[in-house]
Subunit: 208 residues, 2 copies
DNA sequence: AATTCCAGAGAACAGTTGTTAACTGCATGG
DNA sequence: CCATGCAGTTAACAACTGTTCTCTGGAATT
């Protein structure tokens, strides 16, 4: 299906990616609603008008960034949530994977945390869409777990939402601790692990 | 101690409050990092330069807004967390109070949710300061609760953090559902209630 | 080889921004 | 009652913004 696309389209995608990368960099110290299109093109080294060949507006670019940041994350979610082992092992593995992802993609994580409640509606909606999809992934996995036997649909979804939010919160804390000494990051990991453990305990006794 | 302040200072505070109110209104559809000082003064109807009589910058104004939005919330936190009754009653009362606060101060809640991870460092720090204080309030209350007997300090704080984050998350969901039909708001309340109930169950079995 | 297409450049536009300086008028304290 | 203080005004600045129209060089198509 995927053509080896011509020089023309290849160069275009290269510029497009450069715009996305430059924007992501600029967004480390400001919000999307204050990101100017000229600012982005200047950082890339192209004319301001070239921007329009790729995006209608900076809001449009923001939506593309959501796709880039979250679209490819579903496999990781499923890996976390459907891994084997007992509860504690799975929690530690999950926290480790989150820490690793924040360390390798800090700008993406920051962008999502920032714009999830940010000032640009279309971007907020795009993020909530993806997060709802995450929650559905989690819910599907929970359904298969023997611990969830006898749970109704609403409760499975409410637990899935809780997990997703907990995941984002933990990611945000890791982000804040990125430049701090490793001791601080270990503390964050410890707190996150215990919070998930407490939720896990609540889960086991839910039907009592 | 509080002088009945002269006409001079009274008028000044009035203008200052007008600036804060106008800014809060403008911030419903954008982030602080894109809020211009001229925009604010225009909305109030004063000269741009008058802004400097009250704030060094819009970031400075943002910090003042954090104070306004969260500073007066400690009493409510303590009310929620140290109320009597069994676990379920307290949870329902807490969710009700959150819903009520979001309904009466939507702009403040939106501001905090938005700028908690927003693009202006000083404001982010101010918010995290206040939230840390909330967590401490909660922790103090938890310490007095018989359910927490035998808990160590770290675990009390991690639970308090979990509660505070859960509170903010719930507030944000109520905010999104503000313009929606009441059915949607009841659904949010129900999910939030069950999530807190699950946490509560985890709490009771923590030391098993 | 001739033609079409189109990513990016260039110039110009009307508006906007933060910040400065010097001012005015009125409440305040001596 | 007069001198001082100070909240708010006016005018001007250089720099910046998004958007438009026109143009160009080279890849893609025929």
């Amino acid at each position: 299906m995927s053509h080896t696309l011509g020089l023309r389209q290849a160069q275009k995608q290269k510029t497009r990616q450069a715009l996305l990368d430059a924007a992501l960099g600029l967004l480390e110290e400001q919000s999307l609603s204050s990101l100017g299109l000229r600012e982005v093109t200047r950082a890339v080294g192209v004319a301001p008008t070239a921007f329009y060949r790729h995006f209608r507006s900076t809001a449009d670019l923001g939506v593309a960034l959501v796709e880039e940041a979250l679209g490819s994350l579903h496999p990781m979610i499923r890996t976390i949530v459907s891994s084997s082992g007992d509860s504690d092992q799975r929690i530690e593995r999950a926290v480790g994977l989150i820490a690793q992802h924040v360390a390798t993609h800090p700008a993406h994580v920051r962008f999502i945390a920032r714009e999830r409640h940010g000032g640009v509606q279309s971007v907020r909606e795009a993020i909530q869409d993806q997060l709802a999809r995450f929650a559905d992934d989690v819910k599907v996995a929970l359904t298969k777990d023997p611990v969830s036997e006898g749970w109704n649909d609403d409760d499975l979804l409410m637990l899935a939402d809780l997990y997703v939010d907990q995941m984002l919160m933990t990611a945000s804390l890791f982000l804040d601790a990125l430049e701090a000494p490793e001791e601080e990051r270990r503390r964050v990991a410890q707190v996150a692990t215990r919070q998930m453990r407490l939720i896990s305990i609540g889960r086991e006794h839910w039907l009592d």
